[in-house]
Symmetry: C2
Subunit: 183 residues, 2 copies
DNA sequence: CTCGTATGCGACACTAATGTCTCATAAGAA
DNA sequence: TTCTTATGAGACATTAGTGTCGCATACGAG
């Protein structure tokens, strides 16, 4: 009878990313629970948002751990990061979109850490000569967020096949749109 | 004394993208006008949103015209599209993020047309042998939206230098992160 | 200058959303 | 079964946001 908190938060992230003005009732309906129950688990909207943020950051951190960002070939590590992050794209989209929490100046510590971990991966790739240096690591990091999120949305809307998402995301980020022979 | 409607809508797009739950008062404050004046120009929140959507679509269409999407080298055309779209990234971000309007099933006609124009560009590039065919045109289109928007946000947050935005966006989309020698 | 118009400010009623509460019910454990 | 706990449904007051109005003011055209 107890409800799955993580699943609830996951659907909440989806709903809020797709329609940020959703009411608590909308969220409750999407999660197939009553508004009262939603309030029992999260004191209010703010608490829900914060829980969303926390879980999202925790999952991304875990994804980076699972992807072993510091090991092996940098390009392969990027592929692993994308593959590990893709299942949590709903949370990633929420975190990227919902700048609501990150007030100007007060950047969230957890987010900064994730930023640093991914940025370090790209820097490593640049130092190892695998990645071009005319694109900054910061930009590549932003691009990774954007592409993973975009891929998830495209899948959700049926514009991209689910099984292609990870490969297409990685290929575009690493290889770009040009044909190899063109370079 | 009359106010610049387009500039007002532009700041409204920025505000709503950054913080989708912003109230009419927030938007008015951001535009440095009173809430009453905002209501004088737009009957209500819905009307504002629709005007935002209309202007955004019109600007993107104009950007595609200016970029001459059907002419010349496909890769160069993509560069032109990015360069022309970048100044309107605020609107693009709004359109991409605010799925609120595009209810499931009732895809907006204007948006579909823009999608088709950009998709056709990528398809042309694929037929001409310039772009790889293992990444679908639909995905490349999505990626273009995502990267242009992400670049604008990164610039706004100071993570990417303004003058680098267009080049980095185009380079990543076309060439990817890998060094040329790697391929 | 005078006039007309657009704006800012504040007040107001109305609506939607929020947060809290009670009570009945359903699920699971002992 | 009985007991405990979580949930759903609904009522309720409170709050925040919306949309409208009147009035004063400031700008610009003439």
């Amino acid at each position: 009878m107890s409800l799955d908190r993580e699943e609830l938060l996951s659907t909440a992230a989806d709903v809020l990313t797709r329609r940020p003005t959703s009411s608590m009732d909308d969220i409750a309906k999407a999660a197939r629970i009553s508004r009262a129950t939603l309030h029992r688990h999260f004191a209010g909207r703010d608490a829900l948002i914060r829980a969303l943020e926390q879980l999202g950051l925790a999952r991304l951190d875990a994804a980076l751990d699972a992807a072993r960002v510091d090991e092996g070939d940098a390009a392969e590590a990027v592929r692993r990061v994308i593959a590990e992050a893709e299942p949590h794209a709903g949370f990633l989209g929420f975190l990227v979109t919902e700048n609501q929490l990150f007030e100007p100046g007060e950047q969230d510590a957890g987010w900064t850490r994730i930023d640093a971990r991914i940025g370090a991966l790209f820097q490593r790739g640049q130092h190892e000569g695998a990645f071009r240096i005319d694109l900054t690591a910061a930009w590549l990091t932003e691009a990774l967020y954007a592409l993973v999120t975009a891929a998830a949305w495209a899948v959700q809307d049926g514009r991209v096949a689910s099984r292609d998402a990870v490969r297409m995301t990685a290929e575009l980020l690493l290889g770009g749109a040009r044909r190899s022979s063109e370079r």
